[in-house]
Symmetry: D2
Subunit: 152 residues, 4 copies
C-alpha cells in the first residue's frame, strides 16, 4: 500500500528523523472485541510519549510544574493507522518537533512494532498560551532551543 500523508513529504527521510523513542506495552484492556488495539489508544500513547519527550528536553519544569504562566495546549491531533496492533506487543513511539513557529510547534509521532513495522503515525499542534489571558504566548529562545534539541 502506498498511502500519502498530507503532513509528510518524504516518508523515508521523515522516518529517520526520530531521535527520541518511548516504549509502551499494549495492555489487555486496550484491546477491543475486534481482537486488536482499539484505535482511540494510539492518542493515549502519543500523549504519554510527548510528555516524556518534553521532560527529556528539559521542558517539564517549564510547562508541567504549574509554576509558569505559559502552558502548552494541544490544538489538534491526528493519527493514521497502518497496521493492526495486538495485545502484549511492545511498541516504540518516536516523537519529534517537525516544525516550529512563533508560539506553536508541530509534533510528529511514529509507532513501530518490535519487528520494525510502522504501525501508526500521527501529528498534532502544540500551542503555548498564557494561562491567564488564554492567548498565544511566543516561545522564548530558550524554549525554542529545547524544542529543537539544540541544547542537547
Amino acid at each position: 500500500m502506498v498511502r500519502e500523508f498530507s503532513y509528510i513529504t518524504d516518508f523515508e527521510q521523515w522516518e529517520k528523523e526520530f531521535n527520541f523513542l518511548h516504549s509502551v506495552k499494549v495492555r489487555f484492556g486496550e484491546t477491543d472485541m475486534f481482537g486488536h488495539l482499539n484505535n482511540t489508544v494510539p492518542f493515549v500513547y502519543f500523549e504519554e510519549a510527548r510528555i516524556e519527550f518534553l521532560a527529556e528536553r528539559g521542558l517539564k519544569d517549564e510547562w508541567l510544574s504549574g509554576k509558569s504562566e505559559a502552558i502548552p495546549v494541544v490544538a489538534d491531533l491526528q493519527c493514521d493507522f497502518l497496521e493492526q496492533v495486538f495485545f502484549g506487543e511492545t511498541l516504540s513511539i518516536g516523537v519529534k518537533v517537525d516544525s516550529l513557529g512563533r508560539s506553536s510547534c508541530d509534533i510528529h509521532y511514529k509507532g513501530t512494532t518490535e519487528n520494525g513495522k510502522v504501525c501508526f503515525i500521527g501529528r498534532g499542534t502544540l500551542v503555548q498560551i498564557s494561562s491567564k489571558t488564554g492567548k498565544a504566548e511566543p516561545f522564548t529562545s530558550s524554549v525554542k532551543e529545547k524544542l529543537l534539541g539544540e541544547s542537547i
Copy 2:
C-alpha cells in the same frame, strides 16, 4: 450458582432497596479481546452512577463544586462479576447508601442487563474528609438526611 457476598445478608431484600437507577450503554472501546466488557469498566460505571446519585440527592453543590472544605473520598471499591456483559448492552446501575456512619457511608451498586439479569454488584466506602487537614470530617445532619434520601 449460589454465591455468597460478604456485604449482603439477604440478596432478595438487598436487590429491592435500589431506588436510584442510572443507565449506561456499553461502548465498543470498553470491550476487550475476550469479546466482552473488560472487567475494569464496571468501576467506571460505579463512579458515574455514584456522582449522578449524589447530584440527585442534592450533594453535588456541597461536595463537587469545590466551594466546600469537606470533600468525599473513595476509601475502597469492590465488584463481583456475575454475568458477562457485551458491547451495545444498556445497563441499569442501581446506587444506594447501605449504611451510614459518623463521617463515612457504605455505598452499594447493582448492575442489571435489559432482560433483568444482575450482571455485577459491588460496594465502596465514601469518607468525608477535610481538604485542608486530610482528616475525617463528621457529616452534618443535613448531609446525613440527603444521603439517606429522607429529604426526598
Copy 3:
C-alpha cells in the same frame, strides 16, 4: 479565532449538514489534572457516535454482527480542539458522511456544548475491507444508499 481546517471549505455550510446527533455526558474519569476533558477522549466519543450513526442507518447488522465478510476499518482519525470541555457537560456529537468513494467514505464529526458552542470537530476515513483478504472491498449500492441516508 478564525481557524482554518483542511477538511472544511465553508464552516457555516458544513455545520448545518449534521442531521444525526448523539448525546454524551462527560464522565469524571474523563477529565485530567488540568481540570478539563482529556484530549484523547473526543476520539472515544467519535467512535461511540459513529457506531450509533451506522446503526441508525441500518448498517449495524451488515457490519457489526460478524455475519458478513466485509468489515469497516478506521484508516485515520483527527480532531481539532476548539473549546475546553468540563466534567458533567452534556455534548451533542454530530456525525455525517462528508464524501463517499468506491470502498471508503469520509466521516465528519462535530461536538457541541449545551450552550451551542462547537467545542471540537474532526474526521476520519472508514474503509470497507474483506476480513479474509484484508483488501478494500467496494460498497454495494445498498450500503452506499444507507451511508448517504437516501433510504431514510
Copy 4:
C-alpha cells in the same frame, strides 16, 4: 491510620510475601480533575500486573493463547486506597497467589510508590472455567505448581 482489611491477617507478614513486582508509570490521562490518579485506574494496573505475573509463571501459553479449553475468569476484584497517587509517579505493583483452591485462587496486589509507601492494595478471585461448558474446571497439578511458583 490503622485500617483493617478483611483479606489480610498480618499486614507486615503479608507485605513481605510479594516476590513478583511489575512497574507502571502514572499517565497524564489517568489523573482526574481532583489532580490525582483516578481511582478506577488501579484495577487497570492490577490487570496488567496479573498478566505479567501469569506470563512469568509460565501460564500465558496455557491460558492466554486461546489454544486451551480452560480459561481464567476474574470473579471479583477489590481495592483499598491508602495514599493519593500523582501523575508521573512510578509504582511497583506486587502480585502473589495468596491461597489456592481446587479451581480458583485468590490473587493479592500491592501498589507501592518510589519512596516505599504502600498506596493501594487489593485482591481478586481467579477461577478456571471451561470455555465450552462455562463451569469451573479443576487446576491440573502442573498449573497449581506454576501458580504457587514451586517450579521456579
